[in-house]
Homo-oligomer: 423 residues x 2
């Protein structure tokens, strides 16, 4: 980066893009029988016409306009600010974006306003990585430990992880970093294809939480199909209360599920802790986090041993900065990162995050499972590539966030041509 050049954010555009996936039952589950995978999409324009940052927040269709409105509400915190301001202290800029005294009331740091923040912060990192000519995973892998820490707002997590401790963790892995970068570039990062577990495809796929006898019948079929050597995950999509979750899953223990995902409300830290404890004798872990609202929730989930698999969502946590905070917290508690990858454009993002975790933060991919969903990649400028069940390390500059202009026009809601056809 040349110190002479300054890039100023001059304008933002916000788009509501929806793919009518409900027609095809992609991604349906007990709580979301008919999602339309969608993006609240933002472009940060700069005074350099060749340099734009693109970011999106994933949604299920209705309500995308709420996130779009929330993104626009942040415009005045962005326009006129420079990329160099962000680069010089990404954590401070992140705090600037989360600290508007009036907007804060309608969070703080959760729900629509935080999903909007994610889109914006993703776009800032896309801009930064493009400017540096690096894919995001590599940009951050090349940071010094000190630079990495500057990305993080330690507010509200310093009781569990302090900057000093984090610095030591990062420094310990620094000398072996280049070895892992090579390893990643040669082998790719292990991916897990989630679609098989989703409801609605056909009778032999796993579904959970509606009817116990039916769940038993289905898991039996799946185990007969895949045997007991392969891992089988089960997902309840929050349908149970705490006691019910424990009773239900115990009755599925004979099928040796590797984890139970989202057994109850994503906000219930103590509930997840109780479920984890009850299922430990059965060797069934608890996975949660795709609805995990912020670092403060993850901090407590980890403090109480409430989750054994940490399912960060790239667009629900407040963008890359907050993700890095959660990676550090999870590494401290030796809990593997298993990002949520279902949905439009999430696989593109989470590959970068898992790679950063492997190279810089946890130093391992041993138990990390990074979800991959095989939908809608054709709409992305830099789609993720899977080879032999592994994510190939991206090499184009940016955060793989950019949706093709033609797709954005076609699927623009409610007036794009694809919605005229479907309506």
């Amino acid at each position: 980066m040349s110190s002479a050049s300054v890039t100023t954010i001059t304008q933002i555009t916000v788009e509501d893009i929806r793919f009518p996936t409900s027609k095809e039952l992609h991604g349906s589950d007990a709580m979301s029988p008919n999602p339309d995978f969608s993006s609240a999409y933002v472009i940060l324009h700069t005074d350099n016409p060749l340099l734009e940052g693109h970011g999106h927040s994933f949604t299920l269709g209705r309500g995308t306009e709420i996130i779009c409105t929330a993104i626009k509400a942040h415009a005045y915190l962005l326009i006129g600010h420079t990329l160099e301001e962000f680069i010089s202290n990404p954590g401070a800029f992140w705090r600037h974006l989360t600290s508007d005294s009036q907007l804060r009331w309608i969070g703080p740091e959760k729900g629509a306003i935080h999903l909007a923040l994610a889109a914006i912060v993703n776009a800032l990192w896309d801009l930064y990585a493009k400017r540096e000519g690096k894919p995001l995973w590599r940009l951050i892998s090349d940071f010094t430990p000190e630079q990495f820490l500057k990305c993080i707002d330690f507010r509200y997590i310093s009781d569990v992880i302090k900057p000093d401790e984090a610095l030591n963790m990062l420094k310990e892995l620094e000398s072996t970093k280049s070895k892992r970068i090579r390893q990643l570039e040669e082998q790719g990062y292990p991916a897990y294809i989630m679609s098989a577990g989703w409801l609605g495809y056909s009778d032999e796929k796993v579904r959970l939480g509606r009817d116990l006898q039916d769940d038993i019948r289905r898991l039996k079929i799946v185990r007969e199909e895949i045997g007991y050597d392969r891992r089988l995950m089960i997902d309840a999509n929050q349908v149970w209360d705490v006691d019910q979750a424990i009773q239900w899953v115990k009755q599925l223990a004979e099928f040796r599920p590797y984890w139970i995902e989202e057994p109850t409300s994503p906000d219930d830290i103590l509930g997840h802790a109780r479920i984890s404890q009850a299922l430990r004798p059965y060797n069934i872990g608890v996975a949660t986090g795709e609805h995990g609202m912020n670092r403060i929730l993850f901090k407590q989930m980890l403090q109480t041993n409430a989750l054994q698999f940490c399912q960060i969502d790239a667009c629900r946590l407040g963008g890359v900065n907050e993700i890095l905070a959660v990676l550090l917290l999870a590494a401290k508690f030796h809990v593997p990162i298993c990002p949520h990858g279902g949905g439009a454009g999430l696989s593109e993002l989470v590959q970068h995050l898992s790679m950063i975790d492997f190279i810089v933060v946890s130093g391992t991919w041993e138990n990390g499972i990074t979800e991959y969903s095989d939908h809608l990649h054709e709409h992305f400028e830099d789609p993720c590539i899977i080879k032999n069940g592994r994510y190939v390390a991206p090499n184009k500059p940016g955060y793989s966030t950019q949706i093709k202009e033609n797709s954005r026009q076609q699927y623009s809601f409610p007036n794009g041509p694809m919605w005229k056809i479907h309506s």
Copy 2:
């Protein structure tokens, strides 16, 4: 209620109403130095031109448009439905409103979408109470325990309170209910005026969390002024991390604060539990909840003894139904309800809630402190009335939610005449 009549919701209108209070420093605090007290306002129109339900969600200004967008997103869950549907099973209708499979993603049950829900649910209860010709507190006080329970969605709280247990709690207080109604009507409900503690008024008022030496100086002045017989509350508005909160408040212990309010992130259950435990030897309680996002958070706060004063917010929890759930949880743990009353129209709402708690749920007002803020009441059709430091029980039908039409027009944002003057 006559069984012959059916009232159908035909239309909703949504308004963005903002009072330019930042010009006068009403309600400023460490996190919100310059709020414009505002309302995301909804009117439920029915096929009976004489019957409308009004509801609002309180905000601090910027971002009100996000809540308005979120309210509109719920329109299709309301229009064509009948008031009788709501009345016959308010808890089921509440779940209907919170369970849209696509909207749920951008919560669930938190942030902008939940603030929008509050406005809608408040309007439904206003409609119901008007139809019955009763003020809300009286409508609900007249419910049988069974009717009361039907208002509550026990999802995600049944591990801590089950309907049976709640029923017993309510039944125990039933025989003495009429005595408390009389007592309330004669004496009113004790109010606490918060304005004195807010920042920005003048030098002698309490402010906290910015500079320790300054806090000590100020508390000294206040104690010299009011003596040690009166209660003094201190409020940090979330500025501290957990360790810092403990250290800071210990150094203020000599001034015998009754409670420390919002010492850290409102999402940090375990953090509040640690702070509570550390301050117990000093006889300083922890108060929190005005940013408490839903019943699942309050459940855990109560489970861990993280708060000693439960500060529910009438427009942040998902309206009356979820408030009733939290009242039950608090009563179970013998924690007093101290609702958040600062802001436009909140005092009008919380008086009803405190009265319901007193008459039906906890049966006591012993340690309950209901905040009263003396601003903006002139804009309300049925403003709350304080006599001798106590809320007079409202007697007009409804939930005291309705803002005068003239005020709504004057303060409509951004095009109302008052905003033309201020801009």
